[in-house]
Amino acid sequence: MFLLARKNLLEQPLRLAFAALGVGLSVMLILVMWAILEGLLRQEGAYVKNTDAQVWVVQKGFTDIAHGFSVVPASIKAPLEKIPGVKSANPITGARTNVPTPNGTDSLSVIGYDTKSGVGGPWDFSTDPAAPKPGQVVVDKTFADTAGLSVGDRLRFPDRSRKIVALSSGTNQFTNQLAFGDLRDVQNLVRLKGDVNFFALQVGPGKTHRVQAEIRKRFPFVTPFSKSTFVTNNEREIRDGFEPILYVMVGIAFFVGLAIVGLTIYTATTEKSREYGVLSAVGADRTDLGGIIIRQSTLTTLLGFAIGCLLLFPATWAIGQLAPKTELLFPGWLFALTAGAAIVMALAASYLPIRRLARLDPAAVFRA
């Protein structure tokens, strides 16, 4: 009965097109919303994930980079490195600051790191790699592109101007793009003499828990986080802030899609109720009739899903133009999940038409 389902739909091509387009828009919205969240999560956790450190030491009471301003004494570097299992303790300091650009004023998070160890610095470049010296910075490529800057340009910070020596990739954090400078240079910028914000510790394999326990014992004024916990802490801000909104938006998009398919299939079923009566008279049982409805509904939503996927191309292009700092991430599971949601949409949309068919009087086919 697949043939009948398909031909019933194709008999009204315009209605099918509208329904599939409606579902497509709903699917596209679900995908884009989720891709924004995934992009945000990746952006937010990217710095910690890509820094070659297994333990992060922050001021007690602080849990992540984004919230508050952790301050730890720079003097604990040597004692930290004396803890068995610790290979190196790498100081990191940073601050968010506004900088004038050719396109106006924009904010930038400047991170100071030990350029000798490289820990805490940029991990990927879109230009030739470079380690910034005092008076130099490596700037996020997205920031440079939107601000109209390139390598060799100078960027005026509150204390002095610095020359851009390279552009980094993967360092766009949605509302916050990263720039990297020499540790002492950035300490001067943020006037944080004798203190740093974090220590990123490189520890031997399997030593993380023991090192954390030892730090807690020796330095009660700091908290040592494992890399995975620190990543989670940093992502939590996004999850807490965006996930509830995302679920509401995705829910709305789902129900809009459901309403469109439901109404389309219900209308088509009502219009063809006599033909369903004929089918019932010639020997179709309720399962057969329900199967036709479900097939129609599934075909419509799958077509809508395909259209939704195609609409991603103009949608991502438009987002790239309007909000270039927004990173969209489309993992494979997101498409599988949305396809699953489309199937659920199809099944749910079939409910009322099937109920209507259950009340169908097949004897009505004898009435002229």
Binding site: E11, A281, V282, G283, A284, V365, F366
Partner: protein, 236 residues
């Protein structure tokens, strides 16, 4: 030796309840034998449609039974009754009731596919049936492109798809011109000669010419009629 294909015993059907109750069919006994062409005649509102709906397993009687293959149709649940209709009964309707989205061949394939035939088997059987009713060249046309007579012949081919022993035809010539009506009547006669039992519900007097038995229904009661034109050799 003709065998009884379908038997109705004490068939009754009422609609509404209390003072508004209307008894549409009252205590009807009826039997259809193989090769028989039973014409049920009666004016509008006489209970013809109610009777044929009950005989076809589409309307549960208020009392009585319809026996098909030794079993009461209405002792089965909806799903089993649908299966019995699919295998044992063919329906021809006044307004053809073809599925508008499908071609003639696909319409005939529907009952075959419902019965579990493969696409290929259903296709070849449908082609064969449509050629039998002289529609070999029209089988890829949709109903809107067919004449009334052609539509009714497609409907007959569809009714015969699963090789039922019984054909129920409700006013099969009512929407046809005289030539098409004659063709349809001829097909029905040919089918009964092949051993099928045909029940025709109609008020078309021309069909009396092909009927082997005529009964009339009035106020829900059945009355055997002497068919003045009963002559199997006569042209319809």
């Amino acid at each position: 030796m003709p065998e009884t294909l379908l038997r109705a015993e004490g068939l009754e059907r009422s609609f509404g309840s209390g003072e508004a109750e209307v008894l549409a069919v009252r205590g009807i006994d009826l039997a259809l034998e193989s090769g028989e062409r039973l014409l049920i005649m009666g004016p509008s509102g006489s209970g013809k449609t109610t009777l044929v709906s009950m005989l076809g397993g589409l309307l549960t009687p208020s009392a009585g039974q319809v026996v098909l293959d030794g079993e009461d149709l209405y002792e089965h649940d909806d799903k089993e009754r649908a299966h019995l209709r699919l295998q044992n009964l063919g329906f021809v309707f006044q307004s053809f009731n073809l599925l508008s989205a499908l071609t003639a061949r696909e319409n005939v394939e529907v009952p075959l596919r419902l019965a579990g035939a493969s696409t290929r088997d259903a296709g070849s059987r449908a082609t064969e049936l449509l050629e039998d009713v002289d529609l070999g060249s029209r089988m890829d046309h949709r109903p809107r492109d067919l004449s009334g007579g052609e539509k009714q012949r497609v409907a007959i081919a569809r009714a015969l798809a699963n090789g039922p022993e019984i054909l129920l035809a409700d006013e099969p010539t009512a929407n046809l011109d005289s030539e098409s009506g004659r063709e349809v009547a001829e097909i029905l006669r040919r089918l009964s000669e092949q051993g099928k039992g045909v029940i025709i519900v109609s008020h078309d007097q021309r069909l009396m010419k092909i009927a082997s038995r005529v009964v009339s229904i009035e106020d829900g009661r059945l009355r055997e009629r002497q068919n003045q034109q009963l002559d199997d050799s006569a042209e319809p």
